[in-house]
Amino acid sequence: MYFNRTLIKNSIKHFFVVFILLLLSIKVYSNETSTLPKLTIKPNQCVSLHQGQQCVVTVDISWQVSLVGEYCLYSSLQKNKLDCWAMKKSGNFTKELVIEEDVTFTLKSMGDGVENGEVIASAVLELAWVHKKSRLSHSAWRVF
């Protein structure tokens, strides 16, 4: 009787190990594109545990264009530019951010006499979460 119970429990455990490994292998991410101009952010998603929480992420931004020139990087978090590059056709930028909503990054071409620049590429850092916010939530119940 005891032997059978242990055997069944172990079988269930092994089944779920395989099941979870299968789930892990399902998600494959691929966001590569090869066309220019290109603005890439890594990661492109910041995940918090609960909806409504602040999310902390160190984002690596890289850009590439076909023509050498003056380019500036902006984000929807602030009015001022994050960084600028002169006589370049590619660049990188790294920053730790604390976000409460999606953040859009834009690369602008800063030609002579152009004050705000022309948007030539943009990318979005998405704020995501595991548990949706709700009153008397299931995740709160789970804590106990």
Binding site: F16, V47, S48, V57, L136, H138, A140, W141
Partner: protein, 310 residues
């Protein structure tokens, strides 16, 4: 409009069936215990939320659907560690462990499968009715086990003495205040010679550091003499004569309070996967630790796991 009326009638019918079942259940088996139980939650409810009924009416006006209706399911696997003082019970071992949390609620009726990292793992399944929700409080009538099954297995003779825990009716009150969560339970429990009484109070506080979520939980649980005696008492001649229990005296349990402290963390790996861990210690009352079936007063548990949230 027709659909609305139909749903109302159906909801009323389901409610009627539930209350008839509850009434029969109480009349047949647990009038005495329930009378004791009922006075305690009413007192708790009146202290904690004097405006509960008014608030509930407002909630009902806002939406006829129960606000806790919905489903939740997660499944995880990880490495667990457990040390307990139950000499002849080997139910919980260290090693690879499964953690599963499931809940489904419709029209206030719910079914729960709580086998995650919390202390509330004594019941295999619980069924209930979420009959009242206010801004911060939720009130459930619930059928659940309030102590796990114990199998005392004698190592040489392989004789097994099983203490089966039964599902009993009780009241659960959940409090939700942003990062602070409260839980109160008053319920029946398997007892000897009569149905026993179980009560518990839990406080949990959440903290966030970067994307790491930490929590600490404190809990106090009460089991009356009948419950302790049912699970940890030994009556004359209960075990057959065998070498390993020669000299074990009969034992009569007594009521007591059990204290639990737990700290843990959750880290979201993706929107579906969470890395989780916890350490928990439970101090048993003397009514349990004095039993010849128990050798020690502490249960220690810990685990790290990854889980998938559906």
């Amino acid at each position: 409009m027709t659909t609305f009326l139909y749903n109302d009638v159906r909801h009323f019918k389901v409610n009627s069936i539930l209350f008839l079942s509850l009434r029969n259940y109480l009349l047949e088996n647990h009038v005495k215990t329930f009378t004791k139980l009922l006075s305690i939650p009413v007192l708790i409810a009146s202290i904690l939320s004097p405006s509960a009924l008014m608030a509930a009416e407002e909630v009902k006006k806002e939406n006829t659907e129960n606000i806790r209706d919905g489903s939740y399911f997660d499944i995880g696997i990880g490495q667990g560690y457990q040390s307990d003082p139950f000499i002849f019970d080997n139910e919980n071992d260290s090693g690879l462990e499964l953690f599963i949390n499931g809940r489904y609620q419709k029209y206030g009726f719910f079914v729960e499968f709580p086998h995650g990292t919390s202390k509330q793992q004594n019941t295999v399944l619980s069924l209930g009715y979420n009959f009242l929700n206010t801004e911060h409080w939720s009130y459930d009538l619930r059928l659940a086990m309030n102590h796990r099954d114990l199998d005392y297995k004698l190592p040489k003779s392989s004789f097994v003495n099983r203490r089966v825990s039964h599902s009993k009716l009780g009241l659960r009150i959940l409090g939700d205040f942003d990062n602070t969560h409260l839980k109160f339970i008053v319920a029946g429990a398997s007892g000897d010679p009569e149905s026993g009484l179980y009560a518990s109070a839990w406080l949990s506080q959440n903290y966030q550091y970067n994307n790491w979520n930490f929590y600490s939980t404190l809990g106090i649980e009460y089991r009356n003499e009948d419950v302790v005696n049912y699970f940890y008492g030994i009556s004359e001649g209960e075990f057959p004569q065998a070498n390993e229990i020669d000299g074990l005296p009969s034992y009569q349990g007594k009521s007591g309070f059990e204290y639990t402290g737990q700290v843990g963390f959750d880290y979201p790996i993706t929107t579906d996967w969470v890395f989780e861990g916890f350490i928990r210690t439970t101090l048993l009352p003397s009514g349990i630790t004095d039993s010849p079936l128990v050798d020690g007063n502490t249960i220690s548990e810990a685990a790290v796991l990854v889980k998938y949230v559906f």
